[in-house]
Amino acid sequence: MSQVNSEQFDLAHLAKLARIDFSQEELDTLRPQLLAILEYVARIGEVATPDVEPMSHVFKLENVVRSDEVTPGLSIEDALSGAPEQRAGRFAVPRILGEEA
């Protein structure tokens, strides 16, 4: 069923999955826009597709592989060049809430 039930549309959950901290204002503007868009795109449900394969690649491409050879990469400096913060040659990131209690 392609229709989106407005009550079931959990925008807060989606925002969390997408890691975007929307302001309440934004959420209020966004919600009707998203529902309108989803209602519009839901019309693809009108198309009968009983034996149709989903197309994830435009053209039949198979077995595109590379040989197991080492090739030159980036210098450490270049690798770290965009880092918002670095320490001792590593990317420094903010504290992570632990997985174990």
């Binding site: 198979e62 590379r66 980036l74 320490r87 420094a92 997985e99």
Partner: protein, 505 residues
């Protein structure tokens, strides 16, 4: 907790509950380059020195699949009796974490490379030895993440104020092997789990696809455990336990979860679906952060990678060229050498199969080969915390010593001294024997003279022996041994002394 208390615990647990276990192992492949780029896949090197736009996930980068990794995965699947997919796909597993360069992992979802296989393992000893067939649900291919270290006092994630990321490991090929739920192991569930992981490890070595060192992380294992009330057709809620870093921990973690879950259920509680953490020091598991909602990975087919359609002829060739599987090999050698499977397993665990075989090929009896490698040499390896291969003793050395003993040129005690010298770097067994002048005194005339001297020097002890205190003969034997600098066979000396004193045992 004592061993017997633990066993009793499990007995009680299994009276009321049927454990169902599942194992997910991750094998890091030992390819030259990473899964989707040409960066080196091996350990070592400064942090972030083995990276490129692709494995760093820089905007605009694109993955290209490593043929050797695909081949290795197929071989693993074949060795585990799996079906190889005619069309397999990569899929994106989307989630955010700082060690993930793209915040999605390229993995496989509903079209993996291998499905539906099995691996036979053996549990129990002697007459109680059973074959146990572990079903394999799937074997698939994916990429590894970067490595996090945590800043703070303990270096643990908890309480760290920042973390550091090294992406050298990001993109290394990983093979994930998932078992079917393992039912019917009962009290043996911990053993079955351990035996399975051990067998997987052996298999990877035989296939030469990975170093499989649990302590280094090239073999990782997550353990799933649930308990169903006996007689129920409904399975219990399962938990997943991570941080299982050795074979022993696999068994301990299963045991810990079985007893913990039983205790919870016994007291009327409910098992929460969660990821738990195994603690090496306590042998227990602790719960993780309870997440409000389960992660939604939003899998979809990876648009940047083509379908993998292994040529059937190629797959057949790979199958035909598989090496002999480890358990089959152990069975065969055991039969040849006259050892029980358990003994072969022990030798295999000590990584001594090739050493023993080489020694046997040099003409040493299997029992002697095994005696030396699994006895004295294994002990020395343990003491110095190395493995047998690193000791510096060769099969030739063992052959030299064993032969000399059989010829009466050395005693066991002298043989041990030879090995001591070899390990200390004094040279080969031959050289050590020569340089240390190790030889059993075989000239019985000379030996008799020493015995006579020792008896004369210990006349009071000799008297005691004649009067029935046989055990005191040890003093005279000791004196002879000292006088000959240990180069006599103690048993033979004792005989001589007893004869000279005219006393029988």
């Amino acid at each position: 907790m004592t061993e017997s208390a633990v066993t009793a615990d499990l007995e009680m647990v299994c009276q009321k509950y049927e454990p169902v276990i599942g194992l997910e192992t991750h094998v890091e492949l030992s390819t030259n380059s990473k899964m989707f780029c040409g960066c080196p896949a091996h350990f070592g090197g400064e942090a972030n020195s083995h990276v490129c736009p692709v494995c760093l996930g820089l905007p605009g980068s694109l993955p290209v699949a490593n043929r050797a990794a695909i081949e290795a995965t197929i071989r693993i699947g074949l060795a585990m009796n799996c079906q190889i997919a005619s069309r397999a796909r990569f899929a994106r597993k989307n989630y955010f974490y700082p060690d993930m360069p793209k915040d999605f992992q390229i993995s496989q979802y509903d079209e993996p490379l291998c499905t539906g296989g099995y691996l036979d393992i053996w549990v129990g000893e002697g007459a109680n030895r059973d074959r146990f067939r572990v079903g394999i649900t799937r074997v698939h291919l994916e990429e590894d993440t970067g490595k996090l270290t945590h800043g703070g006092e303990t270096g643990r994630i908890h309480g760290a104020s920042y973390s550091l990321v090294d992406y050298n490991r990001a993109g290394v090929p990983l093979v994930e092997i998932v078992t079917d739920p393992i039912v019917g192991a009962g009290e043996r569930a911990p053993e079955v789990a351990r035996g399975y992981v051990a067998e997987v490890r052996e298999l990877m070595r035989a296939l030469d696809v990975s170093d499989v060192r649990m302590e280094e992380g090239s073999l990782r294992c997550d353990v799933n455990v649930s308990l169903a009330p006996r007689g129920s057709s409904v399975w219990g809620q399962r938990t997943e336990t991570k941080n299982v870093n050795s074979l022993r921990s696999v068994a301990r973690a299963v045991r810990a979860e079985m007893t913990r879950q039983a205790a919870v259920l016994d007291s009327g509680g409910v098992i929460v679906q969660e990821t738990r953490h195994f603690h090496e020091d306590t042998g227990e598991t602790t719960g993780g952060r309870i997440k409000e909602e389960a992660e939604d990975y939003r899998y979809f087919p990876e648009p940047d990678l083509a379908v993998v359609a292994p040529d059937p002829a190629w797959v057949n060739e790979l199958k035909a060229n598989l090496p002999e599987l480890p358990s089959a090999k152990l069975e065969r050698l055991g039969a040849e050498w006259g050892f029980e499977y358990e003994q072969m397993r022990e030798i295999a665990n000590a990584e001594a199969v090739e050493l023993v075989r080489e020694t046997i090929e040099l003409g040493v009896a299997p029992t002697d080969s095994r005696k030396w490698w699994m006895g004295e040499l294994a002990r020395r390896a343990n003491e110095s915390e190395t493995d047998l291969l690193a000791l510096g003793v060769s099969a030739k050395d063992v052959a030299t010593v064993a032969t000399a003993i059989n010829n009466g040129e050395l005693s066991d005690a002298l043989g041990r001294q030879v090995f001591e010298g070899v390990i200390a770097g004094e040279g080969s067994a031959d050289q050590v024997i020569k340089s240390r002048g190790l030889a059993l005194v075989s000239d019985s005339g000379a030996l008799q003279r020493v015995v006579d001297e020792a008896i004369a020097a210990n006349a009071d002890v000799a008297e005691k022996v004649k009067q029935g205190k046989v055990s005191a003969v040890g003093v005279i034997v000791g004196a002879v041994m000292k006088a000959t600098q240990g180069k006599a066979d103690a048993a033979a000396v004792r005989k001589l002394v007893m004869n000279s004193l005219g006393v029988s045992d």
